[in-house]
């Protein structure tokens, strides 16, 4: 009896993927230091309090992480559709009653936080995708039209709604995450070819009819930011200056002039990576890049050792989720991609992002926890 209990205890601790926990935690710590710097400039009194908020979000995030670690993730497949439709309802609610910011309706004010349904929508998408994809046959050259129909509908509805908000960044992220999962599950080659070709055809049409002026401006500014250095190209230029001026070792903690003197816009959210790059230089920015990539590799390994297909797809979904956020955010900050309002997971300030990310990682942890077969 005594012996059995001890074995149980040991296995609980052993089952947890401590590598995963360690890398997430490392990114959290870097993120907190960096956020402290970003929110404590000489004129930053208005955002100083956000640092403590973030610690609260982190606590909540880790709680969710461990709750999901210990709950069998198979439960997710049962509630996936419920969560998906509830979330869809929230997205619709936001469209009609949500608070307006920057010309877009994005969140619901819950009092203690601003809930952004489009953020959790990404996770709900991943769940329903894992559920529908898990038993698709993927041999015989991959999924055909019939296999794809339902997933595309599942993705298409929130995509269109979020585009209408308008929040092109989030919508594209949903498409990218879903696309990655679909691609992972293998698609027939001719379908891929059709998608690529129709994408090329649709791009100019979308440019002319679907995009709003500010969205066009962002893309134009990405192509030539110096067109309007004080206007819409400002963010991109200032971010590049911040990153580059960090040079090899950086300017030092809380000594980044671009961030401390507020030349960097949105320095505690979308441009948090510029703050880091400026103050810790190539050393710091490449270290964080490496931490992220290592975390991705850990997640891939968890997927490969998953006990079932559902777990694997779920893990791949969360992986895509964090990967694409990191890719778009860092890409934009270092001037490789146009400016889109996408936070950097684990580093940017923000409750919705933090809770969603930690929940997602909790699911991955849950997959890892159950990797052993008894």
């Amino acid at each position: 009896m005594d012996l059995r209990i001890r074995v149980e205890e040991r296995t609980i601790l052993k089952r947890i993927d401590w590598n995963l926990v360690l890398f997430i935690f490392a990114l959290n710590i870097v993120g907190l230091f960096n956020l402290y710097s970003a929110t404590h400039g000489p004129h930053s009194q208005d955002i100083q309090g956000l640092f403590l908020n973030q610690i609260i979000w982190l606590g909540a995030g880790w709680s969710l992480f461990f709750i999901f670690t210990f709950v069998d993730y198979s439960i997710v497949s049962r509630v996936a559709y419920i969560l998906y439709f509830l979330n869809l309802g929230a997205v619709l609610f936001v469209m009609f009653f949500g608070a307006v910011a920057l010309g877009a309706q994005r969140w619901i004010d819950l009092g203690f936080m601003r809930y952004q349904p489009s953020e959790t929508m990404k996770l709900a998408m991943i769940m329903v995708f894992a559920k529908t994809m898990a038993h698709k046959r993927t041999d015989q050259g991959g999924m055909g039209i019939r296999d794809l129909l339902w997933p595309v509908i599942l993705m298409g509805i929130p995509f269109v709604l979020i585009v209408k908000q308008p929040d092109l960044g989030t919508a594209l992220l949903i498409a990218a995450i879903s696309g990655s999962v679909i691609l992972f599950m293998k698609v027939k080659r001719w379908i891929l070819a059709v998608v690529v070709i129709s994408g090329l055809v649709a791009a100019p049409i979308a440019w002319n009819y679907a995009l709003r002026d500010y969205q066009k401006a962002r893309i134009q500014n990405f192509i030539s930011p110096t067109n309007d250095p004080r206007g819409s190209g400002y963010n991109s230029i200032q971010s590049k200056i911040a990153v580059g001026s960090g040079r090899f070792f950086g300017k030092g903690f809380r000594k980044g002039t671009q961030s401390q003197l507020e030349f960097l816009p949105e320095r505690h959210t979308d441009f948090i990576y510029s703050v880091l790059s400026e103050e810790f230089g190539l050393v710091g920015s490449s270290l964080v890049l490496a931490l992220f990539c290592w975390l991705f590799l850990i997640m891939v390994r968890i997927a490969t050792t998953s006990r079932d297909k559902f777990g694997a797809v779920l893990t791949v979904g969360v992986l895509s989720y964090i990967f694409w956020h990191m890719f778009i955010n860092v890409g934009m900050v270092i001037g490789l991609l146009p400016i889109v309002g996408v936070p950097l997971p684990l580093l940017s300030y923000g409750g919705s992002s933090m809770l969603t990310t930690m929940t997602g990682l909790g699911l991955v942890s849950s997959v890892a926890y159950r990797r052993y077969i008894f």
Binding site: P42, H43, L183, V243, K255, F263, G281, L289, C293
Partner: protein, 659 residues
């Protein structure tokens, strides 16, 4: 429930797909790493510089302009401290909002502030700081400081304001200052090698302020401060990047200009001129060319320019028909009228047309060519010599001299007095006036000189025009027996250590007792005769300007009246005072004293004052009085005593004023 549990075999079929992720992760890592390396290592230094440029702002400390002092060191133009409100456009989010906040504090309407801001952006480009208001009051400064942090782009700067304690007195001489215009910047940078002119710089825009720009300007200082994205000065843990390499540079004040002006006389001239609301110009000059007083009216207050002139004030000044901005002493020319006659007398005597004792018959009018030429006195003056002719200002006498001499002989003499030539005074935009001759008319108008024009020219009408300063120089030449001097107003320039940088030496341009380029020379005796005649104008029993007389000062001079427009024959004798102001004659009075050995020459032109003696005479009288009271009270002691007695008799009130 069981379909997902423990089916590792099924999951294994996915294994080959993970390659996709390895590839994506590796590509992302290396491309991002390469980009970071490119930005932070390859472009790092350049981008570091950009980030420093963002936060380090150079602030110019404008050097105080040099002072202008009178000949005794009394202040004519100085500086006083002030504050100005400035907006830096790139930090201003919405000018409408900012203007809304500023309007009640500055007491300027919101729309006007917005307009001012936008005008500056159009004229000076989008990044030039905009001066919203200069010369802020203490209260305004406090209220602006309170909203400073909530208003990005707003700055309160300490400035040095140019101050003109004499206000309108001598405004056109001293000039005014203002912000350099965008067009002027390249011109000035080319004109003044070694000095850099920038947006927002204050420069002299007219008068001595403009002429003395190089000496009076000083060297601007430089201060480096760290600012945040909203333009607020901000201290951080990172020190000034330039560290010890570049220190703040102190500004160096401009050099002091010591003028030849005598403040006492300057004030006397101005008070006298404005007392009756006279329009015109007056200049008083020492016989060696040093200008003692210089007034042009109506004046304007240059202090208003120093504090940033409003468009309304500016347009009032520009549209004023009596042109307050013009320096009438050198820029405007007038027919000399009868003040021309002493020059004619010199020419006629030198050419032996007459001798001092020649008697000429002068009726009320003479017929020449196809028309009658009238005297101003209906019955004429009868038989008179040159003495009476000048004393009573006979036109007929000088018509006859004009006929006898012809224009080219007149030109040979009178041009040598400086009529028709610039005097060489330091100030820019001097007008040369005109002394015609037949060759000039042929060339300029393509017509031959008409004999009748000899008559009009002889009494200083027609083509002949002169500036007040030319008349002062010309009369000074008669007074001192033939020496044409170059007038000057800048005595010396003194640097900040008190060392004299340059000093103006008096210069005799010509001596008319020697043979001149036009082949003439004047006998010293001739000047004595004309001087005696001019004495009688002021001191003689029938002189036209007896009211100017100051017993003991021995003033010699000549009145002049010039028609502003032609009148019909029936209208000639209409009383001048009954005409509308703008049709009234101009009055001249030009004089020197003491006649025997002149020390001072004064030329006054009073526009639309009808008569020389009553219009311009009193100004000359007051200047002369101020001069002798100050420099030779012994000469006019009796006169002063008598004047005091009169005032004392008039009652206690005047008595107090007199003291």
């Amino acid at each position: 429930m069981s379909e997902y549990i423990s089916n590792p075999e099924e999951a294994k079929e996915l294994l080959p797909r993970y390659r996709l992720f390895y590839v994506a992760i590796a590509m992302t890592f290396f491309s991002f790493l390469f980009r970071l390396w490119y930005l932070q290592i390859i472009e790092g230094s350049e981008l570091r510089e950009f980030s420093d440029k963002n936060r380090i702002k150079q602030i110019k400390n404008t050097a105080p302009r040099g002072l202008m002092l009178d000949r005794e060191g009394k202040v004519l133009v100085e500086n006083r401290p002030g504050f100005e409100a400035i907006l830096t456009p790139q930090f201003v989010d919405e000018i409408d909002d900012v203007a809304e906040v500023l309007a009640p504090i500055l007491g300027i309407e919101k729309d006007k502030l917005v307009a001012k801001f936008q005008r500056s952006q159009r004229q000076n480009g989008p990044y030039a700081p905009v001066h919203m208001k200069d010369n802020l009051s203490r209260d305004e400064v406090f209220r602006l400081k309170r909203i400073r942090l909530d208003t990005p782009g707003l700055e309160i700067r300490e400035t040095v304001l140019r101050s003109y304690p004499l206000k309108g007195d001598g405004a056109q001489l001293f000039g005014y200052v203002g912000e350099i215009s965008k067009k002027q910047i390249p011109l000035y940078n080319q004109l003044y090698k070694g000095i850099t002119f920038d947006q927002g710089d204050i420069i002299g825009k007219s008068g001595l302020e403009e002429y003395l720009e190089r000496e009076i300007r000083g060297e601007d200082g430089m201060q480096l401060v760290q600012v945040d994205a909203y333009g607020r000065e901000t201290a951080t843990q990172t020190p000034n990047i330039y560290g010890e390499q570049i220190k703040d540079k102190e500004s160096v004040p401009g050099y002091t200009a010591v003028l030849t002006i005598d403040k006492t006389m300057q004030e006397a001239a101005y008070n006298s001129f404005t007392h009756d609301g006279r329009i015109g110009g007056v200049i008083a000059m020492k016989s060696n060319g040093e200008v003692l007083a210089w007034v042009s009216t109506p004046g304007y207050d240059p202090n208003e320019f120093a504090a940033g002139i409003t468009p309304q004030t500016w347009s009032t000044l520009v549209n004023d028909k009596f042109k307050p901005l013009r320096n009438k002493v050198i820029q405007d020319y007038f027919s000399p009228g009868s003040t021309f006659k002493p020059y004619m007398a010199v020419a006629a005597l030198s050419e032996k047309v007459i001798t001092p004792t020649t008697i000429i018959n002068c009726p009320g009018s003479i017929h020449f060519g196809k028309r009658d030429f009238h005297d101003s006195v209906k019955g004429g003056h009868g038989n008179i010599t040159v003495f009476e002719a000048i004393e009573r200002s006979s036109n007929i006498f000088f018509y006859k001299m004009g006929i006898a001499l012809g224009v080219d002989k007149m030109y040979a003499y009178i041009s040598q007095f400086g009529i028709g030539q610039k005097t060489g005074i330091e100030l820019p935009r001097e007008n040369a006036g005109l002394m015609p001759n037949s060759a000039w008319k042929k060339q300029a108008l393509g017509e031959d000189w008409q004999p009748g024009e000899n008559l009009t020219a002889a009494i200083g009408q027609g083509f002949v025009v002169a500036t007040p300063i030319q008349m002062a120089v010309g009369y000074n030449t008669i007074g001192n027996g033939g020496k044409v001097v170059r007038p000057f107003v800048i005595k010396k320039i003194v640097d900040n250590d008190g060392k004299t940088v340059r000093e103006t030496q008096p210069l005799i341009v010509r001596d008319l007792t020697q043979v001149q380029s036009t082949g003439i020379h004047v006998d010293p005796e001739t000047f004595k005769v004309v001087k005696d005649a001019m004495r009688r104008v002021v001191q003689g029993p029938r002189g036209t300007a007896k009211r100017v007389n100051i017993p003991g000062a021995d003033i010699a001079g000549k009145t002049g009246t010039t028609q502003v427009m032609g009148f019909a024959a029936s209208d000639i004798y209409t009383l001048c005072e009954k005409r509308p102001l703008e049709q009234r004659h101009h009055g001249w009075f030009v004089a020197f004293a003491p006649a025997e050995n002149p020390e001072i020459a004064v030329a006054a032109l009073a526009e639309h004052s009808c008569h020389g003696a009553s219009g311009a005479g009193p100004v000359v009288h007051d200047i002369m009085k101020a001069y002798f009271e100050k420099y030779h009270p012994e000469m006019i002691a009796d006169y002063l005593k008598k004047e005091r007695a009169i005032k004392a008799a008039a009652g206690p009130v005047e008595n107090i004023e007199g003291e």
